[in-house]
Each structure stands twice: as C-alpha cells, then as structure tokens.
C-alpha cells in the first residue's frame, strides 16, 4: 500500500511528541507530513524554528496553494485554517474559528481525508479539547489509517479520549510505537 500523506493533530502536551516524531523520521520519508497544532493566537514566530531544530525533514508554514512534496513537514500557520485541496495543494482560509480553534484540526483532517481517502494516515495526539475527534472519524470513514496516542501517555488526554469515544481506530500507540510505525512506511 502506498500512502500519500500523514496528518498529525495535537494541542496541549503535543509539542514534545511532535518534536520527537520529527526528529526520528528519516530524511527520505516518502510522503509529506501535515501538522495541525493549536497554538496561541498571537505567537506567530518561533514555533517552526523550534520544531525544525533537530528534525531530519524541513518544517515550514506553507503558503496558500503550495504544492505538497514528500520528505517535508507542513505546519498549519497561526490564525489560518489549513485545507487540503485536490491536486496536492494546500489552501488557507481566515474563516471563523471552529470549536474556538483556528487552525481547526477537524477541518484539516476532513479535507485531507477527502483528498487522500484510503491513502492517508491520521494521528491524534495529546490535547485539551475535542477538536480532531470528528476529523479522525472522517479519515476512518474514507478508508484511511487511524492512530491515537495512548491516553495513558498523554499530558492532557481530552483530545485522544474524545476521539476514542467517537470512533473505533486502528491503533492506540505510545510515542515510541508511533515512531516505529512511521519508520516502517
């Protein structure tokens, strides 16, 4: 099975996990990694730099209509929703926040599920609200692979638990197991 993208959603407590994942992916990771993480509205700089520090693949905040490439990570810019359009392009939007969030993890996941269907891997990490639960359900409904970080390991478990309440998932994994999984792709 050839997968086309990995999408990761997280909020409070996810930064360390995302950092560890990025630091352990190979330079030649065969697909793009989409990151939709909640962040403070007015903290617009420093986040990409922090994630990039030890990452083996470049991490960028994408421009609107930018075409996705493998072996790169794309972080949803602060204060924009990030959609996946067909033809591998990202689209940004300043529409109203959804569940008090912009970027909304649900919207990013729903549109990615729609664009990549069974060729998408969706991962929900630690977080303090339920944004992302519905999005991961849509990944599953479209035939994609669904992974939730083990709530016992999460700094804040609201996001992972509400996801598990809403939908069955393929894997509940610790950070180490997520890393192993991704490295086998």
């Amino acid at each position: 099975m050839d997968y086309k993208a990995v999408i990761i959603g997280g909020s409070a407590g996810s930064f360390q996990v995302v950092t560890r994942i990025l630091n352990s992916l190979p330079k030649s990771f065969p697909m793009p990694v989409l990151l939709c993480l909640h962040r403070l509205k007015h903290v617009r700089s420093g986040f990409v730099e922090a994630l990039s520090l030890k990452s083996n693949i470049p991490v960028d905040e994408p421009y609107d209509k930018e075409q996705l490439k493998p072996s790169r990570a794309y972080l949803a810019p602060a204060n924009y929703h990030m959609y996946l359009e067909l033809a591998n392009r990202i689209a940004l939007s300043t529409e109203d926040a959804v569940n008090h969030s912009r970027p909304s993890i649900d919207l990013a996941f729903i549109t990615a599920a729609n664009a990549y269907r069974q060729k998408l891997i969706g991962i929900i990490l630690s977080g303090a609200n339920k944004d992302g639960a519905f999005g991961l359900k849509k990944v599953r409904d479209n035939g994609g692979v669904t992974i939730v970080q083990d709530p016992n390991e999460c700094e804040v478990r609201t996001m992972t638990q509400s996801t598990l309440q809403l939908t069955p998932v393929d894997h509940v994994l610790t950070t180490d197991q997520i890393i192993k999984f991704l490295n086998k792709l």
């Binding site: 007015h42 905040e61 994408p62 421009y63 609107d64 209509k65 930018e66 075409q67 810019p77 924009y80 929703h81 959609y83 996946l84 359009e85 067909l86 033809a87 392009r89 689209a91 940004l92 939007s93 300043t94 529409e95 109203d96 919207l107 549109t111 729609n114």
Partner: protein
C-alpha cells in the same frame, strides 16, 4: 449539513446563470463549507435555495454576501505594516501623486491603517486611496468606519507596534494618541474613525474575478491581503495578471502573510521583503 460535490456544482452553475457572479474557480473546500453554513443559517435545502436564486436578485446578492469571508483587522500583521512604513512608502516620497488600491478591502480596517500611516509620513495629501470589494454591505461598513471595540482590542496593540514604536530603534517612541485618528466609545462598544480619514478613500464595488480595472488609473501599491486564498490556482493567475497590468513600473503588490505568487506570474514579480515588485 454536508454539501456533496454535486450539490456544490449545481449551486455554482445556478449562481452563474442567475447573476454575474462566477464562483467556479473559487477554492473549493472553503466555499463548500461556507455554502453549508448559508444553507443552515437560512434553514434552506439546496433545491429551495436554487429556486429562490432564479427569481430574486436581492436574494442572490444576500447569498453572495453571506458566502464570502470578511476577516480583517487594523494593522493586521504589524510586521507587514512596519515594512510598508520603513521600506515601501519611503520609496514613493518624491512622487507627486501616489495611487493605492485596496483590492478586496472588506470592512476597511486596512484602508484606515494605510491612511493613518500615510498621514504620519506626511504623504496623505498627495495619495489617492481606492478601495474595492465584491460585497456592498462591507463597503458600506468601510465607509462608516465604525468597528466593535471589545472584540478588537488587539487593534490598539497593532497601532502601537506600527505607529508608536520603531522596530529598528527601540529608544524611539512616538506618542501618537489614538484620538488623532479614531475615538473609542466604550459605553457603546465602538471604535469610530475620524471624519478626516473617512472622507479620503474612494470606495467602489468591484469583482476581481469577472471585472477589469474599473478605477481607470494605475497604481504604485496594490494591497490584496487574504483574498486570493479563496481562489483556485488558475484564478489566482488571472488576478495576478490584472494586478501586473495595472501597476506602474516599480509598483508593488502586497499579499497576505501566507499568500505568494506561484506559477507563471512568479517571474513577473520580484519579492523584496513583504512586497512583490513588478519586473
């Protein structure tokens, strides 16, 4: 309410047939979501929406207004306005006339940001500021220069960063009072732009997607921020063509922080800092 691909295509087709609006090249994901919201807000299903659109032009206008996105702020992204202040406007200080176009100005906050900055740089008298939008309601709001206060306290921080502080010299502080440009009426929860600013710009309804330049002048600066994100890649290129044709040589285009020129027009502009200069 979810909107299927087929529903979406039907809506676009109906709109095109019952009005001069063509949304067929809008960015699909965002527009679909807006359409779902419009249907829910109006408690309509797609069939009844389309039927009403056929016979009621006022209703079509209302739907178009509801479906477009109108997020904007005073001095949104202060670093961009600092660049306008310290890198872009100074190049025009010897011009006898400066023409500026705010394309897709929404409720006008960036128009007033520009007017304030021009006044601080003593350039306001010789500048003509044009502001256009597809939506006549937001243009009326822009003309009135009235904004909610409580919701927008961030405006004041942005103002301080661009007008009072100098990012290149932390010792400099220009204590420009807000009242010079707008009054804050806390009891009515309003920020009111001053009359002297309000009478300056020329506001006009204009559709970037279907119309040519209807302002009949060329421009030194075109600001079009967080507008083209709602267009698909092909339509973005049409709009870049329109802008390119209507900039003076050495004129520049200023886009939203995460917008850029991809594709064929990327070679016709040169990016310097936050501005795309016409080649």
């Amino acid at each position: 309410m979810t909107v299927t691909d087929q529903d979406f295509q039907l809506f676009i087709y109906a709109l095109k047939n019952s009005s001069k609006y063509d949304f067929s090249q809008y960015s699909e994901k965002s527009l679909k979501r807006r359409l779902a919201k419009v249907l829910a807000d109006n408690r309509l299903n797609l069939t009844s929406l389309i039927n009403r659109m056929k016979n009621d032009t006022n209703f079509v206008e209302k739907i178009v207004k509801e479906i477009t996105v109108n997020t904007t702020e005073l001095f949104r992204d202060p670093q961009v306005w600092q660049a306008i202040r310290y890198a872009i406007l100074p190049k025009l200080k010897n011009n006898s006339v400066i023409n500026i176009w705010h394309a897709g100005c929404s409720t006008g906050q960036e128009v007033y940001s520009m007017l304030i900055l021009l006044n601080e740089l003593d350039l306001l008298d010789r500048t003509k500021v044009y502001a256009t939008d597809l939506n006549s309601d937001v243009l009326e709001n822009a003309r009135q220069g009235l904004y909610k206060y409580r919701f927008n306290i961030g405006y004041l921080d942005n103002f301080d960063k661009v007008i009072k502080e100098n990012p290149y010299n932390f010792e400099e502080y220009n204590d420009v009072p807000y009242e010079k440009y707008f009054s804050i009426d806390k009891s009515n929860d309003l920020i009111k732009m001053s009359n002297s600013l309000k009478e300056k710009p020329i506001f006009k309804k204009h559709d970037l997607v279907t119309e040519d330049n209807t302002l009949y002048v060329k421009f030194d600066i075109i600001l079009c921020r967080n507008v083209i994100i709602y267009f698909n890649y092909e339509l973005q290129n049409r709009v870049f063509d329109l802008f390119h044709k209507n900039l003076y040589d050495n004129g520049c285009l200023i886009l939203g922080l995460h917008e850029t020129i991809l594709g064929t027009y990327s070679v016709k502009f040169q990016k310097k800092g936050h501005a795309y200069y016409k080649n």
